[in-house]
């Protein structure tokens, strides 16, 4: 495997190079992660880590520069009555909003992630997609979230999908590339596993579950399969790839379960915003409410946290 990755970089892996996934086994493993009890100090630590890993996201047709500025403000100052909390990892927006977000975030250290490649469907010619990436990078995006062409993938044109990711990676330049598999449209865990391998071999810095526009979005079984793919890829090549579950993770408790899964699948090295992200919008508020609860002992209400 290692030799192959070195010599024939530009040839897509074959589907049979990805191992079959035992769905029942995956479900059982996930059920175990969900039974861990994380309390008190460990809980606070986990909640803070979750906050620092959030890609605060707004991807709607109704987005305006004003809304993006507001989101950036929130990204920098999550909740003033909790002074010791970290800021989020990044703000995730459409390419048209990148400049606005970049300006609003200034030197805060928060990254700007931009979706590109005709998000969310990916139904555009390759040239258009590459242009979009270059545009977003030119405007200052630090990270690019691209979607794979699910249509082509399901048709079996794996090489085309692969080549497109390679070209996108090149177009990104220094920007990090996150590859969205849109697992809700892939159908089976076997395909998720194979698509993960395809994306990683093509040069993805991160692999990401979903756009958030399709149900089901991120689920724990799908994320586990992708984490296992990352682990095996790391053993084969020595290259670390990041993971970003996105969509449908809106509760702190669920986010902590994801962290448990991350810790027990990939280990300590991945437990940082550099290697794991949550794509979410409402998750931040729930985490803040839990932190406030830990501090005051009183259950909180959404009324006292900023709307987003």
């Amino acid at each position: 495997m290692a030799q192959m990755a070195k010599t024939v970089v530009m040839i897509a892996p074959k589907p049979d190079q990805a191992p079959r996934v035992d769905q029942v086994g995956v479900d059982e493993r996930v059920a175990r992660f969900r039974s861990r009890s994380i309390k008190k100090a460990s809980k606070v630590e986990a909640l803070n880590l979750v906050l620092s890993q959030i890609d605060l996201t707004t991807l709607e047709g109704q987005d305006t520069p004003g809304k993006v500025r507001q989101l950036c403000q929130k990204a920098m100052r999550l909740h003033d009555s909790l002074p010791d909390i970290p800021h989020v990892a990044a703000v995730c927006v459409y390419p048209m909003m990148v400049a606005e977000a970049k300006k609003a975030l200034g030197a805060s250290g928060i990254k700007v992630a931009s979706v590109a490649t005709s998000f969310p469907s990916g139904m555009a010619p390759s040239e258009v997609k590459l242009e979009e990436i270059k545009l977003a990078v030119g405007l200052g995006a630090d990270e690019i979230d691209m979607v794979i062409s699910r249509g082509k993938f399901l048709e079996g044109k794996y090489q085309e999908v692969f080549d497109e990711i390679v070209a996108c990676k090149e177009a990104c330049g220094d920007a990090h590339l996150k590859v969205i598999l849109e697992t809700g449209e892939l159908g089976t865990l076997d395909r998720v596993r194979y698509a993960s391998l395809l994306a990683m071999q093509a040069g993805a810095d991160f692999i990401k579950t979903s756009t958030g526009k399709i149900q089901p979005a991120a689920t724990m079984p799908v994320t586990l399969v992708m984490l296992q793919a990352i682990r095996d890829y790391y053993y084969d090549t020595g290259r670390m790839v990041g993971m970003k579950p996105a969509g449908g993770i809106s509760k702190a408790k669920l986010a902590i379960h994801y962290l448990v899964m991350l810790r027990e699948t990939l280990g300590e090295a991945w437990m940082s915003p550099d290697w794991f992200r949550f794509g979410a919008s409402s998750l931040a508020n729930d985490v803040l409410m839990q932190l406030q609860k830990q501090q005051t002992g009183i259950y909180q209400s959404e009324d006292y946290f900023s709307k987003d």
Partner: protein, 317 residues
Amino acid sequence: MDKTVKAEGRSIDSAAPRETQSAAKSASRGRAKPPATTRLGVAKTYKLYINGKFPRTESGRYFTVVDSKGNIAANMCRASRKDFREAVLAARSAFSGWADASAYLRGQILYRVAEMLEARAEQFVTELKLMGVDKRTASREVTAAIDCLVYYAGWTDKYQQVFSAVNPVASSHFNFSILEPVGVVSVLTGQNSALLGFVEAIAPVIAGGNTAIALAPEQNPLCAISFAEVLHSSDVPAGVINILSGYRKELAEQFSSHMDINAIIANSNDASEIKIIQEQAANNIKRVIIRTKPIAPDPYQIIDVQETKTTWHPIGG
């Protein structure tokens, strides 16, 4: 029949000993014939009522309620603060739907609750008698509870007209005040009247479009939990009323401190408890309504948990 059998249920009939003999005989012939037994009563498990479901407490704890003769009447769920938190979530998500339901519909549903209670009156009389209330008082209490529901069913589409106002102001504005439900209300019901007190406490809350989380009377909770079954079969949307059983001393603080509760109603004479409630409620300045003695149904109890919204509408030139 001795005491233990009575506590577990009644025996079917006096034929039991004879059947035992014949069972022994058939056993000696080597033929399997089901051994005759005294039938055990199928006692009801009293559980919580949260979001239209009957869960056990997440804590797995229980406490024992004894009847007037000192026998075990039931093992009740001893709800924890997490059960309460779940109930608040349910009440919060049910709130907008219930507040936006037409007054007429809320009235119909309350009337439906009364209908279902009437149909099951006998069960409530039995439960009250078990706890030491005499038959006549028990029937009177059940009837009064039904009437109370009908009373507030009638008020749902009338309190707005009576308590809203057009206010005279000295500028060219049309100024009017209308009522809106405060939101999620927690209710600590009185200890004495197991059914009537409970119904009287929650009916005006939901008549006005609020959602409620109520704690059943600690040592007298049977009727309140059975009342959940009535609600469950009465078109009351899930989450509008949630009922917990447990230790009041443990839960009163939670009922009053939770930031997502907008008002608390407590039937209480206990000065130290009232102090805790008032202090905890100050966290989010929730409305505190302390009732030191039972009061007969009246529309002011609906208004207790309503906000007044006043609008200044410019007119003329």
